[in-house]
């Protein structure tokens, strides 16, 4: 058990076409850039291949994923996550343009967890998209994560401001900066 095996299962799902492109999101994705905090689950942003005979809009069902995982013996849930090799995994289908762009721009990484688990290739969302997605979700822990990114100077300010603009999050961003008492890097960069 362990994250490497969890990602091996998810990589196999992608290779077998059960899911389309995927990337690690949420707290685990943030580990690639900032100080880790303990988290309970692994968020996986996924796309579904679009079939011409299937309507593009409407409710997305995770049934094919759950059926596939059931055949592999993964049936136990912990809170909202399906337990895969010890990690509760939440599959989050791309639901808007921000998700879609975040997944498209996700970077390939090879993670070497430890000697016993070895390495695994995967994708992780970029910091600018993680900040934008945290802003959109807006829980207290998301605000802390945004501040961690800002303090660490990890996100590319120009890219971040462009992402926020493109996805109509600039007002929410300015409100966040006021509330959190941080200087708005977008404002500092190019006064609007």
């Amino acid at each position: 058990m362990g994250m490497k095996k969890t990602l091996d299962v998810i990589n196999a799902m992608e290779a077998e076409g059960v899911i389309g492109r995927y990337a690690i999101a949420g707290a685990i994705a943030a580990y690639n850039y900032i100080e880790p905090t303990v988290t309970e689950d692994l968020d996986i942003l996924i796309s579904f291949e679009t079939h011409p005979d299937r309507p593009r809009a409407g409710l997305i069902t995770l049934s094919p994923i759950l059926s596939y995982l059931k055949t592999k013996g993964y049936t136990e849930y912990r809170k909202e996550g399906l337990l895969i090799e010890g990690w509760p995994v939440q599959f989050l289908p791309v639901a808007d343009d921000l998700d879609s762009e975040a997944l498209e721009k996700a970077q390939e990484v090879e993670i070497r967890i430890d000697e016993s688990q070895g390495s695994v290739r995967t994708r992780v969302l970029r910091p600018e998209h993680l900040v934008a997605l945290s802003l959109r979700v807006g829980r207290p822990k998301d605000s802390i994560r945004i501040i961690q990114f800002l303090e660490a100077g990890i996100a590319n300010v120009q890219h971040l401001c462009d992402v926020l603009d493109r996805h109509h999050l600039s007002d929410a961003w300015r409100a966040f900066c006021r509330r959190a008492g941080v200087a708005d890097p977008c404002q500092l960069q190019s006064p609007r």
Binding site: G2, I28, V38, T39, I113
Partner: protein, 63 residues
């Protein structure tokens, strides 16, 4: 009320903690995941105890 009290200077402790956070942030992605997996194991008994406390509270008869 507190103007006459002398408190110790803890700035060096806070500075060390901040340095520890910076060091943690510098670890590799894999090292951070390994750390969290260890923490999850260590925290599991505390989590179980909390869940049991919450369940016991839920099971209490209402007045």
């Amino acid at each position: 009320m507190t103007e006459n009290r002398n408190y110790p200077d803890v700035s060096d402790i806070l500075a060390r903690k901040a340095e520890g956070r910076r060091e943690a942030a510098k670890r590799s992605f894999g090292e951070k995941i390994a750390w969290v997996e260890q923490m999850r194991e260590r925290l599991a008994p505390l989590k179980r105890a909390r869940e049991e406390r919450l369940a016991a509270r839920r099971d209490l008869p209402e007045d």
